[in-house]
Amino acid sequence: MNLMEYQGKELFRRSGIPIPRSQHCTTPEAVGDFLAENPGEWVLKAQVLMGGRGKAGKIKFAAGREQGIALAREIMATPMPPNRQNPNGEAINSLLVEEKLSIAKEAYCAITVDRTTKRPVAMVSKYGGMEIEEVAHEHPESIAKFFIDTAIGYSPFIGRELAFGSDLDPGYRKQLPAILASLYKLFFEYGAKLVEINPLALTTDGRVIASDAKVELDDDALFKHKEFAEWHAVLPLDEDEQLATEAGLGIRNFRRFGGTVGTMANGAGLAMATMDAVKFAGGEIANFLDVGGGANAERVRKCYELVVNHTPAKVFFINIFGGITRGDEVAKGIVEALRTTTSRKVPLVIRLTGTNEEQGRKILAEAGMTPVETMDEGAAQAVRIAAGA
C-alpha cells in the first residue's frame, strides 16, 4: 500500500522527522479558511499517488482566502493526466496546504528492502528533487548506500558514513544521522517496504526538513496496525485490484492488458507462462488471472465473469495443472460455472492435466467441451478463435 504525501508526513511527524507546517484540506473552502487565518504565501499540493505533480500544474502558491479557493478549485477540477503506469490518470480529492520553504539545497534519502542482501538499505544522494532512478542512471557513484544488520539496527555512524560518502552539503551533516534514525524507526515500526524523503530540503536558515514523503507499507503487515484501514479507504483503488477483490481474488491476482485472449491459470507462475504462451502464439492478452488453489464452481464462475464482463476477450483460455487441485473438481467447476452464469458467452479453450485428469476430461466431454492436450496447443487454438471471432 502506497501512502499519499499527507499520510506519509503524518508518520514522519509521529517518528520525529522534521516536516513543514501544513494542513490537509478536502475542499477549496477549507483551503480558503486556512489561508484566511494564516497570512503569507503557502503551497497547495495535490494529494495523489502519481508522480509529476509539478509538471502537471498540480502544485501552486497561494495567499489569502480568495486566491486559495480559486487555485484549489483549479487544481481539483481536473484529474492528474494519464501516464504509462496510470492510463486513467488520477482524481484529486484533497490538497496539502504547506509552509513555503526557502530552500538552499535539495538532497535524497531513503530506506528500503534490498532483495539481494536481504537487509534494509539506507541510501543518500546529494541530488534531490529528481527521480532516484534517473540519478542512479546519470550519477550512479553519487548514491551512498549502507546495508543495515537488523540485529544491530541503526547507529549514528551509519548516517555519518552516508553523509560523507555522498558528499552531502556540510549544512546537512549535523542533522542527517538523527533524521535517518527516525526514518529507520518508522521503517521498522510500521513494517514499511520503502520510506523516502525526496527532496530532503536544507533551508536558507539552516533547517533540514522533509519536503516530500513517500511511504510504501507492506500489505502483508497491515494487520499489525489496524489504524491504517481508515487511510486505506481514501487511497485511489487501482481498478484491477478493486475488481480482483470483488471477485474474491487477491489484489495481485488479476490484471488487464486490453487484448482479446482471456486467460486463467492456477498459480502465478503458470498464469504468467500462460500469458507468455498466448503472446508467443501471436495473440493479444486480455488479462492475467491466477485463480489460486481450490478452483470450485463459484470461484471459476466469478473468474469467468470477471474476464468476460471487464475485458474485450473473445475467447477464454483456462490452463489448469492439477497438483493439489484435483482435475475432476476443476472440471465440475467449469461445467457448473458455465451453466449458471448469466454473462455473455465466449468460446472456451480448456487445458487440464495432472491429478485426476482422466476423470476431469470425461466430465468436460460429457458437457460437450473438448479439452486440448498442452499449454502451447491451447494458446494456439485460443489465438485462432480470437482472430476469427
Binding site: K118, R252, A268
Partner: protein, 293 residues
C-alpha cells in the same frame, strides 16, 4: 545423493493439527518422508490423525525425535516466530509454506538464523523423488533421476517437471524457492548445493520477472558450473512494469527485474533460455548430449 533432503531426513510439521498441515502431512507420509512428529501449542501429548506424536514446542519435539527438518504451515502472523523457534531448537533445515508473511519478519529471521537453511516462505517446498518430499508438491508427477530443478513458482514447476518426466528425464531434487521479494534460499544457494551433488548431472532454473536472483544465478553458473548442462526459463515476459503479478516478488521496478536483463545474463553465461516450458526437455537433452561428447 540429492540435495537438502533424503530418505533419512527426520521431519517435524509445525501446525500439524491444522487443516493444511494435517492434509499435507498425510501426503508426505504416503510419499515415504520420515515425518517423526508435529507441533501444535496446547495439544502436546496427543496424537495427530496420522498417529504421530504432537508436542507443545519445537524444542520438545526435537529432543524426543531427533528431527533436523521442519515444515511450517502456521498462519502468516506467526510464521516468523515459528522459524525463530525452530532455529533455537536446533533445526537445521526449515521449509516455510505460508504465503503472506510480512517482509520485515522474513528479513529479521534470515538475518538472525545463520546455519539454518530456510526454503520460502510462500513456496511449495522441495522433493527428492523416490526418497522424500517436504511441502505440498504432488509426488506422482516426479521421477527419480539426475536433473536438479529450481523454481520461484509452484504450478509452473509441476508443468516443467511433468514435461521432464514424460521425456524420460528424472529429477534428483526439485526446490520451489518461493515467490516473495525476500526468501531464505536463493537460486545461487541451490546451484552451489547441486554443484556438490554427484547425482545431479543437469539443472533447470525456472525464474521470473523481479529482483536479480536470476542474474546472480547466471554469474554463479559462469564461474562455477561451466560444462554442466543447464537450461533456464523466465516467466512473465509480457508483464507490465510497476505491478506485481500474483507473486509479491514478481515486479519490474524501473529498469530493474526485467525479463530482458535476466535472459541476457543467462545467455552470456552460456545457458540456453527456453521461450516456452515445453521446449525445456528437448533443450536439456541437446545440452546433455553435447556436454557428454
Amino acid at each position: 545423493m540429492s540435495i537438502y533432503l533424503d530418505k533419512n531426513s527426520k521431519v517435524i510439521v509445525q501446525g500439524i493439527t491444522g487443516g493444511e498441515g494435517s492434509y499435507h502431512t498425510g501426503r508426505m507420509l504416503a510419499y515415504g518422508t520420515q515425518i517423526v512428529g508435529g507441533v501444535t501449542p496446547g495439544k502436546g501429548g496427543q496424537k495427530s490423525e496420522h498417529g504421530l506424536p504432537v508436542f507443545n514446542t519445537v524444542r520438545e519435539a526435537v529432543e524426543a525425535t531427533g528431527a533436523t527438518h521442519t515444515c511450517i504451515f502456521v498462519p502468516p502472523p506467526f510464521a516468523g516466530d515459528a522459524l525463530f523457534e525452530a532455529y533455537e531448537a536446533g533445526i537445521s533445515f526449515a521449509v516455510c509454506i505460508t504465503e503472506g508473511v510480512p517482509v520485515h519478519d522474513v528479513m529479521r529471521v534470515v538475518g538472525a538464523t545463520p546455519g539454518m537453511q530456510i526454503i520460502g516462505p510462500n513456496c511449495p517446498g522441495l522433493i527428492s523423488p523416490g526418497k522424500a518430499s517436504v511441502g505440498i508438491m504432488p509426488g506422482h508427477i516426479f521421477k527419480q533421476g539426475n536433473v536438479g530443478l529450481i523454481s520461484r513458482s509452484g504450478t509452473l514447476t509441476y508443468e516443467v517437471v511433468d514435461g521432464l518426466t514424460r521425456a524420460g528425464l528424472g529429477q534428483s531434487t526439485c526446490v520451489g524457492i518461493g515467490g516473495d521479494p525476500i526468501i531464505g534460499t536463493t537460486f545461487v544457494d541451490c546451484l552451489r548445493a547441486f554443484a556438490n551433488d554427484e547425482e545431479t548431472k543437469a539443472i533447470v532454473v525456472c525464474g521470473e520477472i523481479g529482483g536479480s536472483d536470476e542474474e546472480d544465478a547466471a554469474a554463479f553458473i559462469a564461474e562455477h558450473l561451466r560444462g554442466t548442462p543447464i537450461i533456464a526459463f523466465i516467466g512473465g515476459r509480457n508483464a507490465p512494469p510497476g505491478k506485481s503479478l500474483g507473486h509479491a516478488g514478481a515486479i519490474i521496478s524501473g529498469n530493474f527485474g526485467t525479463p530482458e536483463s535476466k535472459i541476457a545474463a543467462f545467455k552470456q553465461a552460456g545457458v540456453p533460455v527456453a521461450e516456452r516450458p515445453s521446449e525445456i526437455p528437448a533443450l536439456l537433452k541437446k545440452s546433455m548430449s553435447s556436454g557428454n561428447s
